[in-house]
Structures are given as structure tokens and as C-alpha cells.
Symmetry: C2
Amino acid sequence: MATGRTHRPATRSRGIPEATVARLPLYLRALTALSERSVPTVSSEELAAAAGVNSAKLRKDFSYLGSYGTRGVGYDVEYLVYQISRELGLTQDWPVVIVGIGNLGAALANYGGFASRGFRVAALIDADPAMAGKPVAGIPVQHTDELEKIIDDNGVSIGVIATPAGAAQQVCDRLVAAGVTSILNFAPTVLSVPDGVDVRKVDLSIELQILAFHEQRKAGEEAAANADGAVPHTAARKQPADKGPDGDVPAVMPA
Amino acid sequence: MATGRTHRPATRSRGIPEATVARLPLYLRALTALSERSVPTVSSEELAAAAGVNSAKLRKDFSYLGSYGTRGVGYDVEYLVYQISRELGLTQDWPVVIVGIGNLGAALANYGGFASRGFRVAALIDADPAMAGKPVAGIPVQHTDELEKIIDDNGVSIGVIATPAGAAQQVCDRLVAAGVTSILNFAPTVLSVPDGVDVRKVDLSIELQILAFHEQRKAGEEAAANADGAVPHTAARKQPADKGPDGDVPAVMPA
DNA sequence: CTTTGTGAACAGTTTCACAGCC
DNA sequence: GGCTGTGAAACTGTTCACAAAG
């Protein structure tokens, strides 16, 4: 078993669609900003704009959580913040370990977005003995030898892998063996994990490649390959004709 | 104006599904690894395993690119590497600028995965005058004032934003005005861009929140969920109380 | 035989449009 | 009037299963 798979949600639980779950953090961020400005209520239209989605989608998403809005009025900001936080499990404390304290690991350790939600960086772990004891983001780096003990002592169930690709699987195996059941992987590798362990992957170069794909299409309107690559200046170049404000290009039918 | 979306395939191009495009880099990576080991051909089954997807999906994906396989044999590794690279636009040079050279920006600048595909870091840009001239990953950091000139001189069409959230929209506006049409955004903000500009977002805390959601669910399930999986080991941690035995549907929140 | 390529069934997601409540 | 909540429609993505090709 245990052939690598990014493992699906799988959970047979209450049916909140995966796509909705992925947007809840987005809503939460927008709501938190509103909350900080002491905005009491917000309409689906406004909130959707702030989160960068459309309002029908947002309403549908919220409908999976329950009926938390008031018709004719909108949603109570504080209440929604709480409900979404709870749904995401952010009302509890999630100790997290970050393994691999290079530039990326350090960036993660310093990233404010972690602490502000329920996440707490319980430990930073690196294989380089020279790093041991050095504080990063105020937290002393510990050696990989301590990994199992750290996870055990802190009840860590979420691990972040920011090591080079070559070390990722091995680190992953140790994390899983030590009891970690959710992994956020920044190394450009496919990780094999046993069933029941969730892996999410963030891959910098993949994102760029997807952009390149679309970028290439944009240029494909006329002057194609040129060693130069792109036409700078004036963003108003070969726009594919029309398109109004929010209107998305409709899916042109096959001839 | 158009609120930043996570991008839009859209144009009347040849219809490669977005989900397929997103997997091509994955296949490419697996194929590159095979290529380096001088493996001449690979079956959909093997390649799918290496890329972490299932083989039917892989074959369907490849069918959008054309018929590049040989029945009874599999796919020619080199040929497929070339075809996918070309489809993704990686056979051309993509100069990229990275704006915001903190830990994350530095991690990106040092990230090998960029250069190895068609991407070239044309410049590193930071608002801090103290950074100017300092080399990161062998490239001297330049001040934000130079942004427009750099983009123009290098024909940059892809920009990476690794600034704090507060600066991201402003940087984005300048990039777009200067001619950038694809943006990879690491700042935790929704960017507004005009139509025709693609934005992809990588958000560290969102990924963690999604993991937390699933992690939370697991806690209520594990009693029944031990079919073919593998209990990692006896988690010596504080297990949350457990749950009803046979319930394969944990119903609602137990408060 | 083995393995691809693909129509067709299925599953998940988004959008529409409007009934129902404030 | 304004706005939510939601069925139904439209669309996108995945899986199945098998005919066709080597």
C-alpha cells in the first residue's frame, strides 16, 4: 500500500465540498479585515468582492455551513468569523513543526499568517548541526535527531516540509511514523504517505509553468516566437478584443 | 473593474482543460527524472505512479495534447518531455522579476526549479534602499524606482510578488502598467488586475487552514476508518476522547 | 498478449434565477 | 425595496470500460 497519492479529503463526514473548504480561509481573511474596521455586517456582494469570488458562489458556500445570514441585511461579521473559524478548526491550537530551515523555512517561520490563526510554530528542525541552537524568528533551531521527541512532546499533528527535494521523503516518513497526519510539502517531490495522512503541496515552479502556459497563449495572437519574448509597455496590447467589466470571456463553442 | 480572480483560461485557444494544464508540470518533472536515468519509454501506469495521479487521468490528459504514445508500449520519454515543454511554453525564455526580497523572495531567487525550466530571474527588486546592490543568489538587488525600466529593458511579462501584503496591490499596479501580464502572488491579499492579466496566488496560511480542517475531521473518525489504511503507529499523543464505534458518518459537530 | 486513446457515465463545481424572508 | 438561501441548469473534471493498435 501506501503508494503515494495526495490523498483526497476522503472523509465521509458532513458534506462540505472541498472547493468550498478551500475558499473558507479566503472569506475568513476578508471578514477579519472587516472585523478590524469594526464593520458590523456585510452583504454577500461586498464580501465576495473583498474575497475575489462572485456572490452566488459565496452564498452557496455559506449555505453548506448553515443559515448564518439575515435576508435583506447580510451577514454578521463577528458571528461569521467565529463560525468559519470553528468549521476550519482554528478555534483550537495547532502546533506545527517546520523541517528544513533554509530561506524558505525561515520565511515560513517568520510568516505572521501562521500565528494569527490557530497555528503555533512548535519547533524548527534542520539537519545541519551548525544551525542547531541558532534562533530563527525567535525560535531556536533543533537538530533532526530530535524530531520524534519534539513531535511527541508537543502533540504535533501538522508538519511542514521545506527541505531540499532529496530529503523530503525521508523527512516525511519520519514525521508520519512519529504521528504527524497532515503535511504541507514545499519540496518539489511527490510524497508517498500511508492512507489517512493528508498531503498538500505548494510548488513554486509549477505555478510559474502554469502562468507561462497562459502567457504563451496570449502572445499567440500574432508575432509569435521572438528571442525577445514579450512586448513591454502599454498593457493595452493584443487584448483578445472586447470584454467588459466583470464579463468573462464566454467559452467559445467548437466550430 | 475586474476583481482579481485566480486566473482565466478563456481565450479561444485549443481547448486544453485547465486541470490538465495544472498537471503537465507534474508529468514533466516525472519525465525529466526518467530522462536523467536514461529510461527510454514509460507506460501510463508507471508515469502516473511517479507523478502521483491515476493512469486513466494521465492518458486523458495526454490525449488533449495529441496521440504521442504507442499502444502496447507506452510513451517515449524524450519525445514527451519535448512536447509537454513546448505546450507549456518552456522552450522559450521567460524573464521574471521578483519583487520583495525578504526571506521568501530570497528563497525564490535561490530556487533551482526556476532556472531549470525556461525561467530566468531577470531582476530582484526591493523597496529598501539598504538592499540595493546587495547580491542575492548572485543577482544584485535593485531599487523599486527602477521597476519600470527593468521590465521594459528585459521584456519581462511575468512578475513575482513576495512583498508584505500592504505593498502588494501597489506593486501589482506598477507591474501591470509596465507591461507584465502574468503575476504570481505570494502576498496574502486579493489583487485587482485588469482583464487580460493572469494572477496566480500561493498562500501559505490558506494551505495550513485546509489541512487543519481535515485534521479536525480525522479526530472524530479514526475509530471506524481503519479499513485498508495503516495506523502510523500508536500515537502516544493526547487523543481526543475517541468516538462512537461503527459510525461511519459522524454527523454534526459535537460541540 | 499489452497498453493507448476515447466515448460515455458519473461526480463535483459554478452559475442562474427566483422564492422566501426581512 | 434589498438580500439570502437554494433548487435546477450548465459546466468542468474524473473514472470506467473497451475498441483499436502495436
